[in-house]
Symmetry: C2
Subunit: 299 residues, 2 copies
Amino acid sequence: MTRTANNAAVPIELNAVIVAVADGEPYLLTGEGQGLPSGPFESGHRTLEQGLRAWARRKGARNLGYVEQLYTFADVGRTSAGCRSVSIGYLALVHDGDEALGTTWSPWYKHLPWEDHRDGKPRIIAQSIMPALAAWKNKASGAAEKRARAERIGIAFPSDVRQWNDELVLQRYELLWEAGLVAEAGRAKNGLGLPMPYDHRRILATAMARLRAKIKYRPVVFELLPPQFTLLQLQTTVEALAGLRLHKQNFRRLVETQRLVEETGAVTRGASGRPAKLFSFRRKVLQERAAAGTKLPRS
Amino acid sequence: MTRTANNAAVPIELNAVIVAVADGEPYLLTGEGQGLPSGPFESGHRTLEQGLRAWARRKGARNLGYVEQLYTFADVGRTSAGCRSVSIGYLALVHDGDEALGTTWSPWYKHLPWEDHRDGKPRIIAQSIMPALAAWKNKASGAAEKRARAERIGIAFPSDVRQWNDELVLQRYELLWEAGLVAEAGRAKNGLGLPMPYDHRRILATAMARLRAKIKYRPVVFELLPPQFTLLQLQTTVEALAGLRLHKQNFRRLVETQRLVEETGAVTRGASGRPAKLFSFRRKVLQERAAAGTKLPRS
DNA sequence: GTAATAGTGTCTTTCAGACAGTATGAC
DNA sequence: GTCATACTGTCTGAAAGACACTATTAC
């Protein structure tokens, strides 16, 4: 615990991927230049998370609900000036998306359009991505490297739709980045998707991957929903995050057997079609199953 | 991305939980004063992970295998001096445990003895923990708080052994900490388990929780094993990490159906009993199933 | 032979995936 | 009545959990 001379003292920067879902579309809050809202960690705060919350409140994004640390980067050359800084990425979920001055809600699939498979495989994959990746594969030096690239491509962008893995967001982003298909820091060229400054789009990919994995074993979706919701709203929100269409009946059975929700007695009115029951999240499950399933065969 | 005046520039400290398993017992590398090996992040390195690897190599702990970032803390008063520092926790797995100068391998269940359920529920739970937690519960002010405490206790330390959740390491540690049963920073008192300096035992609990969760869906156990191993060795290693006894036949079926290993042709010699086949990890699965199971019912 | 550990075969229960069908509103 | 959406019942096949059994070594 001794302090040495070359101990690097550096500024800390917080970057937050603040997510909201409205009308079945996921959005993220962006600040100046389409970038993630980011700011310095100030000495006044006791913990990083408190610093983030206070700073988000000041920025106008209502009280953050669920907050999770993503990753800490400390690479040189992260920022434009070339000076080193430490950047701590956060994922935050809110359910009321109002904008503050200088911020906008941006649909996250605008930045990563190949991730949305709700209406089948996006055209962009067959039209732009696969040909470009094939070319990149063929540029490889050596047969081994060529095979390795082919395998990575096959896993990230499988030809069979049923093999699409929604959690591989970061792997796909890095693959496209290596192949020169996505640009960072404004150099848009003919790149795919809307770029973001610095490495912010990579942080978004990290957040999306984490969130898609998390909704499968922790009830965090409810942080994105109002206190009362219909089962269809719940399903649509999950579909929006996963970028996949789900099987209605089986989804409902899943929700029911896990006892995630309870009826409120109220129903929707006015819409066309049969009115839907309104449900609320059973907060108790947060304690009941702090972690869900062991996959190990106990003796 | 503007630098403000109260932007806190602080030193970065790396803390690593370096894990090895020998003879079915998990160990962690400890430095001075039974603490985690820790050191400053030096300006010479390109990334945090590279800094960690270089520094671990210099400390003598052979090349780190699997490395994973755990969490970044920046609380005030973390260190003894009261000055703030940022601490980044890492989990690293190695399979050859040799010691460097000034370091020792310490069995991790010495620090968290209530986590080892391989020989049934540890005595310490019935003898010390449950009575003390009951007393702590009764000290609560108000019936609601009392009920909340009772519920937390019931989940963290269930009376039915079959309900024991091996992943709740951190929840249990924090529960015991709130109840004053584990001491930090040397004030051993009549606390449970071997203390570690600063918040290092909490970081160990975080690492254990992460590792126990991870082995269930990612093949990281193999980072702790030699290149060739028997199925029993594999099972014993998983049991050591999970702190649970597993069902032999079903464990083997799991390993087989997931095609995690392949026969090498060699067998063990000299031990009593039938010789066991030696297996090696099928590295291909790392690519095949970069992520394993979707739990969502796709349409 | 016995003791000790390695490995196989199979039964049962539970749960995920898929099907078709009925209910209740707006118009 | 039609249309649109909400909800229910049930079949099937694949795993998870648990049982008993055979195999190969050292002594």
